[in-house]
């Protein structure tokens, strides 16, 4: 792994103990220029993670706590009349000038606000009163969704879920991790120890490099077969979209890059498949919700990986 990325991971791990796989995946999403949906219960350290990440990379961090009365203009900014000069002045919103946005409880926002955020995520720009303002690069949104207490919430529509690169879950720390966490926080806030080890320019360079990772046709074929199989699965109403396939490719590249390779392997695709695709698959009505992971696992088992197709060449299934 790159020393730079290793440093970032180490710094973030100072604040979040024992969650290395998730931190790696968020870093992958950052490298793949995609946004992350954290699906989790309160109090497992989503904000801490985002703050630590922004400090370690030297990104401008902002947090938006969504409630039903957060308005689109709170995010995108608005123009107001300046009494003295008599002009209209643009007041930037929360998204302007931030690299890392933590959208907490995005499902509590009204659907208008949600769509404003999602548009900004997709286009990386905001338009207010006909004027377009570019957002900072890199621009990463980590949105969180609570699984409990969903009363009065506005769950993200399927089409909007599709725009997130990956859905991740931090989960509770295990015994050791929690003990370590309690011990660390006895005297000081560990967030203060997080040093900035990577700057914005370096991160942009890394993103460029991650994009240049090789994915041979065998890998693209594997991705295509996986997504096609997900659409054909009998328990699935809506399979992985073409955008999902693109994201899968990008995430696999980022993983390969994080692992220190400049080529994607079948293992990379396999490792990120669940995270990238689980929220894109809609099961049929009478199949249990929890079964998405099983279905994807089944697909991974069923669809021949590119290594194995070399074992018996000529035997096309």
């Amino acid at each position: 792994m790159r020393a730079q990325l290793e440093n970032v991971l180490r710094e973030v791990e100072k604040a979040i103990v024992g969650k290395r796989p998730v931190i790696e995946k968020i870093l992958m999403a950052l490298l793949a220029e995609g946004h992350v949906l954290l699906d989790d219960v309160p109090g497992v350290g989503k904000t801490t993670l985002a703050v630590a990440l922004s400090r370690a990379i030297g990104l401008a961090f902002r947090r938006v706590q969504f409630t039903p009365d957060v308005l689109p203009s709170d995010l995108t900014g608005f123009t107001m009349a300046d009494r003295e000069s008599g002009d209209f002045v643009y007041r930037p919103g929360a998204l302007n000038g931030a690299n890392l946005i933590l959208g907490d409880e995005i499902n509590r926002a009204s659907s208008r606000t949600q769509s404003a955020l999602l548009e900004a995520m997709e286009e990386r720009q905001v338009t207010v009163d006909g004027k377009t303002y570019a957002l900072e690069t890199p621009f990463l949104v980590i949105a969180t969704e609570n699984r409990v207490g969903t009363a009065g919430t506005q769950p993200l529509p399927y089409a909007q879920m599709d725009r997130f690169l990956a859905r991740l879950s931090l989960g509770y720390p295990d015994y050791e991790a929690q003990m370590a966490m309690l011990r660390d926080r006895q005297d000081a806030d560990p967030l203060r120890d997080v040093a900035c080890v990577l700057d914005r320019e370096e991160l942009l360079a890394l993103q460029r490099e991650a994009r240049a990772v090789t994915a041979k046709d065998a890998i693209l074929d594997y991705i295509t077969r996986l997504t096609l199989a997900s659409r054909a699965h009998e328990a699935v109403e809506l399979g992985v979209s073409p955008r999902g396939a693109l994201f899968l490719d990008r995430m696999a590249k980022a993983r390969a890059f994080l692992e220190g390779r400049d080529y994607v392997t079948g293992g990379d695709v396999r490792a990120v498949f669940q995270d990238v695709c689980a929220h894109r698959v809609l099961l049929k009505e009478n199949v249990r919700e929890a079964a998405v992971e099983q279905v994807l696992e089944e697909l991974l088992k069923k669809v021949e990986n590119p290594d194995r197709s070399r074992l018996f060449p000529g035997m096309k299934k």
Binding site: R261, Y263, T265, R270, N286, N305, D307, R308, L311
Partner: protein, 514 residues
């Protein structure tokens, strides 16, 4: 699903009844057809499979459908409002247009559609989504739909055996005769125990049957449902059973085939229909060829074939026929006295002698030719069989040699790929297949007891392999040496542990050219 099975069961029961009462070629064909239909996976859809444009699955009664009463009824136009009509039936939109109250009219859906699978396919059900079969049913279905080709092959083999082996043939005939005797006994019992008064007219019964038929036909016109086909089939069968007589096969078989076609799913699938007709034809041909039954003409034909075959085998074995000249064999012919006056006469069975001249008249020669051709084919197959393994082995050997050729390829990357897949193949053949996962992950699932450090070397080579397969960089020559040494190590370690069967497979499939 269940209801389809019920429909099928009724069909089977009817044909079995018919067969039991009147054992002739027609009933045999019908019984065989109804037994064969669910065995052919393609035809099974006729009765059991819910494949089609929309789920052809009828929800378990009173779960979904009865949530909404209107669902059980079919809209059928409007009429003016009459005091007392339920208000929710008023067609508000039309009423507003026409300036008078109009009420939707409903015709209750007959219970027929739910009895048999097809009916909904013509009318799109509004809540078809709710009606999709639940997963357990789906899996059950897919299980049923998996082609059990083994069973079919077995069945076909059995048929061929019965056709070819004279003993088996005779045994089958004997079985048929037993069944026939049993049915005769039932006939006799009915005849003696339920005597019909002399002056009884058959008019009333005929009228009743005609009425039922007319009703069924009328229903056909009103509602096209496959249940009707089944009903008609039942009526025909019961008619034949009730009067203790059956139509000759050339009436019955087309009749039942047509009814079977009628019962098929709509929209009509031409290929399936053709397949069904072909099956009926095949079964009829088989039955007529090999079990022509007790129908006098066909039976004598079959007898002649048997005689000829036995004569053929006797002439082969060098033993002369034991029967006197002019006579072939005694055979049972069933006659029933139909004289109305003779009430006491029990059904009787007589035996008669058939002369060779009579025999020759009804002797179809083509059956012999058919058998000869079958035997010829079988002989050819048997003669060719011993050579098959050698052909296979040669092909394998050539393939293995080609695979080995890549080991010395110019490009080390290609060589590493070939060598490493060879290692994996060794692992597969010795029962350590780690399944459909990247080869790099196999390092964690290597069998126990391999040499020290093997897993590390394996992982190193797996990384080489991945680089060779998926990157654009060339590999160093050293990686080829590394892979070759891994292959040698694998071969040595796994060969020792392999069982006899695995060694055989390894020899055949992996390393033939060594």
């Amino acid at each position: 699903m269940k209801r389809r099975w019920v429909g099928y069961a009724v069909w089977l029961l009817l044909t079995a009844c018919l067969y039991f009462f009147e054992n002739n070629a027609g009933t045999r064909i019908m019984l065989l057809c109804s037994l064969l239909v669910p065995l052919v996976p393609f035809l099974r859809g006729m009765f059991f499979a819910p494949d089609g444009p929309e789920p052809d699955y009828v929800a378990p009664s009173c779960t979904v459908r009865s949530l909404n009463r209107e669902e059980e009824e079919e809209p059928d136009g409007v009429r003016p409002y009459v005091p007392g009509d339920p208000i929710r039936r008023i067609h508000w939109k039309l009423s507003a247009k026409k300036q008078e109250l109009l009420v939707r009219e409903y015709v209750p859906l007959s219970p027929l559609p739910s009895q048999l699978p097809t009916v909904n396919s013509q009318r799109p059900t509004p809540n078809s989504k709710l009606l999709t079969p639940n997963p357990t049913l789906q899996t059950l279905n897919s299980k049923l739909q998996t082609p059990n080709s083994k069973l079919i092959t077995l069945l076909l083999l059995l048929l061929v055996f019965i056709a070819i082996l004279p003993e088996a043939n005779r045994g089958a005939q004997a079985l048929c005769n037993r069944l026939f005797a049993a049915s005769e006994r039932v006939n006799a019992y009915v005849y003696t125990s339920f005597p019909v008064p002399e002056d009884q007219s058959v008019l009333l019964a005929s009228l009743l049957l005609l009425g039922i038929l007319a009703c069924l036909l009328a229903l056909t016109v009103l509602r096209r449902s496959r249940l009707l086909a089944l009903g008609l089939m039942a009526a025909c069968s019961l008619f034949q059973v009730y009067f203790g007589l059956s139509f000759p096969w050339w009436i019955n078989v087309p009749l039942y085939a047509a009814l079977g076609l009628w019962m098929m799913k709509r929209p009509f699938d031409g290929r399936r229909a053709l397949c069904f007709l072909l099956l009926v034809l095949l079964v009829s041909a088989a039955v007529l060829a090999f079990f022509p039954g007790v129908d006098a003409a066909t039976e004598s034909a079959s007898e002649s074939v048997r005689d000829r075959l036995s004569g053929f085998s006797r002439s082969l074995l060098g033993t002369a026929p034991e029967l006197a000249a002019g006579e072939t064999e005694t055979r049972r012919v069933h006659t029933r006295s139909l004289e109305t006056g003779d009430r006491e006469a029990a059904p009787e069975r007589t035996y008669r002698l058939v002369t060779e001249e009579a025999e020759a008249i009804s002797m179809p020669r083509w059956i012999d030719w058919l058998k000869m051709i079958l035997l010829l084919l079988l002989t050819v197959a048997l003669v060719a069989l011993p050579f098959a393994p050698f052909l296979l082995l040669n092909a394998r050997r050539r393939k293995a040699r080609e695979a080995r050729k890549a080991f010395a390829s110019e490009d080390p990357g290609e060589a590493v790929c070939a060598i490493f897949t060879h290692v994996i193949r060794w692992l597969c053949e010795t029962g350590h297949d780690a399944g459909n996962r990247p080869f790099a992950d196999w390092a964690e699932r290597l069998p126990a007891g391999l040499p020290e450090g093997y897993a590390d070397r394996f992982a190193r080579c797996a990384a080489d392999f991945e680089q060779a397969a998926y990157s654009l960089h060339p590999l160093p020559e050293e990686s080829r040496r590394r892979a070759l040494s891994l292959l040698r190590e694998t071969e040595a370690a796994l060969w020792q542990r392999a069982t006899r069967k695995q060694r055989f497979r390894l020899k055949v499939w992996v390393c033939l050219c060594e």
